[in-house]
Subunit: 226 residues, 2 copies
DNA sequence: CCCCATGTTCACAGGATTTTAACAGTAAAA
DNA sequence: TTTTACTGTTAAAATCCTGTGAACATGGGG
């Protein structure tokens, strides 16, 4: 079961968060400030840390810096009362993996938490995958198209890997963006088309570019025929 | 049909909300405070609860705490007066799934309510469905008619999916428009006929176009025979 | 500091899909 | 039978979506 550490100095809010996430079937541990939380991280090894930006003793930012200094890579979700864009930047730069502006609907929190945990859970996908003449080995990062080896950049690789792991299954644009570019991707999602384009061009080397099919209005599928 | 419980101590507002949502085709039950509402939750099993934050006897916040303490997970929409400071944490502390700041436009309320209800309903809809020679798989988006595969656009797909999920059940025009085109569809509802036409034409490929039957003055059904 | 590789954004053409509108057809009501 | 209310069919118009080349941004290495 997934374990979440929540750090917030407001007891009511803490209670609320705890209850909400416990309903969701998560194991919840709490702390009221960063100082108190630090030892819990190493003893409890949570899968996700939710923390407030503003806290006494040790605020969210400082906590994150300390955490990262220790080389800890646990996923973190930052809560912030301010909604300025600069905070988003700050929050992310400080090492938070996502952030949420207060006030937010609990359902939104739950959605984010699940999205993040899903991402964490993703087992070390190290198994080679293959489909329709394309094979990809995550450990060596080698990709063969009709026997020929092709070179892919990281993003291209991740995208192809995702498609190959779900052959014949239509993946929605948002789903792909979430998986490859990270949950909560804001930018112009035309990147996806651009990368599909790159991939097709490279797959053309083995005449397999038609394997990536567009499903207009939905997303893309890796499948033969049609 | 979706059932909504509205809890508010202001009779005028209550009346207004009731009328608005009833007009939207929802079943509405009301209570003027939390104390009164609590038993209704277990007897009526509403799909959604709309409640005011400030109420006599038992306010919204307390009501929600009680509700959650009982382990009840019904969706809740909190109404609140505008107040800069309180709003910061309201969403969170209330434990509501969504909130709306007064004053609000009825259309906004309606939009939220429908969005929430759709969320409640729409969870498990990636199971393949089949009826009378037609099969549809939401994950691959493949549709087979008498064994032959046909290509559908998003709208066609959604419409067919809806019909297949309710075989032999007459779906009203408005109901279909709500599901497929969204609750806020005002356009010329001739689109529905047009799309039924498209679908029938494509189903004709497997000689199953007569499966979509017109129920004059009401809507359409997916059923064999006649 | 500049260059290069990678990643992201922009603009826009060409197509596919969706909507509108007009009218023909058909069942029910008068 | 006539009238009316709905429904089906088409085609054109409006809109939306995707692919593409090129510009722009970033960061690491030389």
């Amino acid at each position: 079961m997934d374990k979440v550490l929540i750090i917030d100095d407001d007891p009511k809010l803490l209670k609320m968060l705890e209850r909400t996430l416990t309903y969701e079937g998560l194991t919840v541990i709490t702390a009221s400030n960063g100082l108190e939380a630090l030892p819990l991280v190493s003893s409890e090894l949570p899968d996700l840390i939710i923390l407030d930006w503003l806290m006494p003793k040790m605020d969210g930012l400082t906590f994150l810096e300390k955490l990262r200094d220790f080389g800890n890579k646990t996923m973190t979700l930052m809560l912030t009362a301010r909604d300025a864009v600069e905070n988003r930047v700050l929050g992310l730069e400080s090492g938070a993996d996502d952030y949420l502006v207060k006030p937010f609907a609990p359902s939104e929190l739950v959605a984010r938490v699940h999205a993040m945990l899903r991402r964490v859970q993703k087992e070390p996908e190290n198994q080679p995958v293959a489909y329709g003449g394309i094979s990809l080995d995550p450990t060596t990062r080698e990709v063969l198209v009709s026997g020929k080896q092709i070179d892919l950049t990281v993003t291209e690789f991740d995208l192809l890997h995702l498609l190959l792991r779900h052959p014949r299954q239509v993946l929605e644009r948002q789903q792909i963006l979430n998986e490859v570019w990270g949950y909560d991707f804001y930018g112009n999602d035309n990147v996806l088309e651009v990368y599909i384009g790159y991939l097709r061009k490279k797959l053309r080397k083995g005449d397999l570019d038609q394997l990536i099919q567009t499903v207009r209005g939905v997303g893309y599928v890796m499948k033969e025929g049609k």
